[in-house]
Amino acid sequence: MIAESISNFFADSWLLWILLSIGSLLWWSGRDSQYFNYVFNRFVLALITLLIVSGIVFSLMEVLPGDCAEKYIAYKNTQGETITQADIDAERARMGLDQPLAIRWASWVTDLTLRGDLGFSCAKRQSVNLALGDRFWMSFMFCMAGLVFSYLIAVPFGILSAFTINKTWTDKNPQHSKTERIINSIGLSCQKVLDLVLRIVSYLGLALPNFLLALTIILLYVFAGESMPTGLYSDEWRNVPWFGTDGFSWGKLDDFLGHIWLPIFVIGWSATALQLQTVRALVVDESNKLYVDAARARGVDGVALWAGYPVRHSISPLFNSVGFDFQRVFNDLPIVAIVIGLTDAAALLIEALAMTNDQELAAGILFLVALVVISMNFFTDVVLAAIDPRVRKSVLGN
């Protein structure tokens, strides 16, 4: 009996214990290590930010019309019961919705920190955790894939752009012979044109609204007479298990990849423009520093110079912004998801906000996104403080 209540107690508050033990572990290690002291401070800061985020998200959802009681009663209404205002009020009192905002928020946060419980979705009439299921992970993977895609394009092109930024179109060095000058001028012009084209292509990703881009691609499929790459799978593969009777189903994988490239491509491309600008600015900044000249004076040249000096020194600030990049990519995902007909968390978010006014679900999704961003920021800060001497110097002060 006692054992059971203890296990219940822990089952109901497992998340809190995890958080507390991580915190105390960090605090303990931080007693005589500056680094862990920093990690501990960063951890506490992340928790505080999360708390503020939950407050903002929760109060924001208040502006959505309707509340749980109304929705519940409305549902009953469709079942043929007659409803009065008194019924709604009674239902409100039962759900605790007559309490002030602060108290409801406190209870939501408490549930969250104790058990990771995101509340109950009235519109879906099931718990938010259940309603989300692994859809959030799906969105997460889409964003990450989109992010990787945009980095793959933005990083090399940004470096190239930085490389050409201060170059002239023609070589007018009197020390070069005439043929040399012509050859160099052609080379320089090619670089400049390439840079311009690449920049136009990557900025097009920003300028073409992503819903139109997705639509256009789908349209092209329609015109070509192929089946549209909407959703995750085509109909024939939807219900085929991954591990069928004859081993792993490669056909399903093929079908899956044939579908998911579209959202990844669309959100990745639109994120590219900003990434490219960031990479370009960072590399240009670093390449103007004296140590690059000093390395050149030591005979370091070509790829070794660029990769080892300005580019290498731009990696940390770029890595540091991964969290916010994720947030920016997620920003674009909902609309793309709707156009393409995905059923991930982003699409659920739009549904919850714009159609069913499902405050709990929307708050849950927004909170999870913020959680991912904050954890990424925490993670990058901690990693950078460990590996980058410049960051270590600035945050640890030695």
């Binding site: 500056q34 002291n37 920093y38 201060n166 170059k167 002239t168 007018k172 060095n173 009197p174 020390q175 520093k289 004296l290 140590y291 000249d293 000093a294 390395a295 050149r296 004076a297 030591r298 005979g299 370091v300 040249d301 070794a304 080892g308 000096y309 290498r312 020194h313 940390s316 980058d388 001497p389 410049r390 110097k393 945050v395 640890l396 002060g397 030695n398």
Partner: protein
């Protein structure tokens, strides 16, 4: 035999070097028709002020000119390498490594900025040796540690694997030297290698370079603006001004029998310990007195307990009216903090500052509020950095008028303008320049603006915080002359803060020496420079790079004696 060899050998020969810069205002000539020859084992001192083209010339030897530089015909730089004459300006691609590290290497002015911050010193050094000498990693590492030891870095194995910011200023420059020597170059270019260092460390680094040169016998181009430093190290001296060579010859001839007026002017700026100014007969009454002043800063919060740094420890000081008092110390000695505290710009944790002979009482300290307006009309500051101390978005007139307008001293705009013009004239600023923005001015002119701003509300006391440190020697002399003039005409009391003892010797009546926030010694200029009592002051005075007699130089560096007669036979 040896002489013959050196006769034929010219290690480096620059002929008719002309470089233009492609700027917004069209082509600007940076280097004009420069000729220069360096023989094996010779130290060539390249002297000039900022904008004289000395750094550009040196960088051209390594083909490191910035992208907008145009090297004009018929410039030629040839380098003797493996008994062949190589035209450096015609080198392409991989061949450039020959002048970048292989036969020529360079020491930069700022060691902190010239090492990559996120790479270990060891990695950068090993990479260099791998490129040029083809060493294996272990070999290079071994050699690197050896070099670190040789340049006098304590605990070389540990330091070798550190990052540049973990070393102290002197150590950084030593590491830079070790890096430059790692490829055993024939020619070492040192671009103001000691300028950013404190005097005592500067002396140590100079000694090290002399010693290394003696052992390794490479040639050196030593770029500096300081003739004192040059006299210690160079065999031959070339003086440059505005992109042209104005004087060249042996160190002895140029430094002791200068022909060009510009060289003479540069030499005049050096301290002359033989004729230091006479101290005034009697010490006037103090204008301000500092009592038991301490200043403590909390260090940027790390760790759980806050640590404090005491910049100034319990200092008491009286400043006599109408004199120029020098405040000397190395970086981190708390001299700037003390100066700012006198102006109420530093947090005083205990003690007080009191001004005498003012219209209204000016007194502040720990627990006492500063009456800013009264203080501002009594004491003003002339900043170190003439660039950041002037708001780039205001015209010169607005900058100078700032105190008048902020404290509403003048009633009308006409009155303000009249006062601004009066002060501007006194500080030798042309009246039509008042409409311009600060970016149109050079450092010296900006410093004049800064002085004019300080003087516009008729203060009695001025703190000049390293006010000439960022300026060239000849400009320094002009500003110092202006300060002296103002002192005489307006009866100003000036606290002149500087790390540069030669400036102090030329300007001040009295000198205070500080170290680690504490007073070391105080006295008249003669007392401090000629009969220093404290060991620290003695060390400081001994480190001043004074002109040294040529025979002394010869004694010190036996290696280049062989080269000397050659020069004379020319």
């Amino acid at each position: 035999m040896m002489i013959n060899q050196s006769m034929n050998n010219k290690l480096l020969e620059i002929r008719d070097l002309t470089i233009d810069f492609n700027t917004d205002e069209g082509l600007v000539r940076a280097v004009n028709n420069v000729n220069l020859t360096v023989r094996p084992g010779e130290v060539m001192g390249l002297v000039g002020e900022s904008g004289s083209g000395k750094s550009v010339t040196a960088k051209t030897i390594m083909r490191l000119t910035p992208g907008n530089a145009v090297i004009q015909h018929p410039s030629q730089i040839s380098l003797q390498h493996e008994n062949r004459d190589l035209n450096i300006l015609k080198l392409r691609g991989r061949d450039l490594r020959l002048v970048r590290g292989d036969a020529v290497s360079m020491i930069f002015q700022e060691p902190m900025a010239s090492f990559a911050p996120a790479l270990r010193i060891s990695d950068q050094m090993i990479q260099t040796m791998q490129i040029h000498l083809g060493y294996s990693k272990d070999q290079a590492r071994h050699r690197g540690i050896e070099l670190f030891e040789r340049v006098g870095i304590v605990d070389p194995e540990k330091r070798f694997d550190q990052y540049v910011f973990e070393l102290s200023g002197g150590m950084r420059q030593r590491a830079m030297i070790a890096m430059a020597l790692s490829t055993e170059p024939k020619l070492l270019i040192a671009d103001e290698p000691t300028t950013a260092l404190d005097v005592t460390i500067q002396a140590q680094v100079l000694d090290l370079m002399l010693e290394l040169r003696e052992q390794m016998g490479m040639a050196m181009i030593f770029i500096t603006h300081d003739l004192g430093v040059v006299s210690k190290i160079a065999d031959n001296v070339t003086v440059m001004k505005k992109g042209e060579v104005v004087e060249a010859g042996t160190a002895e001839r140029v430094l002791f029998r200068p022909e060009h007026s510009y060289t003479k002017r540069l030499l005049d700026a050096l301290p002359h310990l033989e004729d230091l100014p006479e101290a005034p007969k009697h010490t006037p009454d103090p204008l301000l007195s500092v009592k038991d002043l301490s200043i403590t800063y909390p260090l940027a919060g790390n760790g759980r307990k806050t640590e404090y740094f005491t910049a100034v420890k319990n200092i008491s000081l009286d400043l006599p009216e109408g004199q120029v008092i020098g405040l000397v110390g190395e970086s981190g000695s708390g001299k700037t903090t003390l100066g700012k505290a006198m102006l109420g710009a530093a947090p005083i944790s205990s003690g007080q500052v009191e001004y005498f002979h003012t219209k209204k009482e000016v007194k502040f300290g720990a627990g006492m509020k500063i009456k800013r307006k009264r203080l501002a009309q009594t004491a003003q500051l002339v900043f170190q950095d003439p660039y950041s101390s002037l708001n780039p978005r205001m015209t010169v007139r607005d900058i100078i008028a700032e105190p008048l307008e902020a404290m509403k001293i003048t009633k009308t705009r006409e009155e303000t303008d009249a006062r601004v013009i009066e002060v501007a004239k006194r500080c030798h600023i042309e009246v039509e320049h008042l409409r311009r923005f600060p970016h149109a001015f050079s450092g010296g002119q900006r410093q004049r603006i800064s002085i004019a701003r300080a003087l516009v509300c008729n203060p009695k006391f001025i703190v000049a915080d390293e006010s000439v440190a960022a300026l060239d020697v000849s400009i320094q002399a002009e500003i110092l002359k202006l300060l002296k003039e103002l002192k005489e005409e307006l009866g100003l009391t000036i606290l002149f803060i500087s790390h540069d003892l030669s400036v102090i010797a030329n300007l001040c009546d009295r000198v205070c020496v500080m170290k680690h926030g504490e007073f070391v010694e105080e006295g008249t200029v003669r007392e401090i420079f000629l009969e220093p009592k404290q060991a620290y002051t003695q060390k400081l005075i001994a480190s001043i790079p004074l002109l040294e007699a040529p025979d002394k130089t010869r004694l010190r560096t036996g290696a280049q004696v062989a080269a000397e007669p050659v020069m004379e036979s020319f």
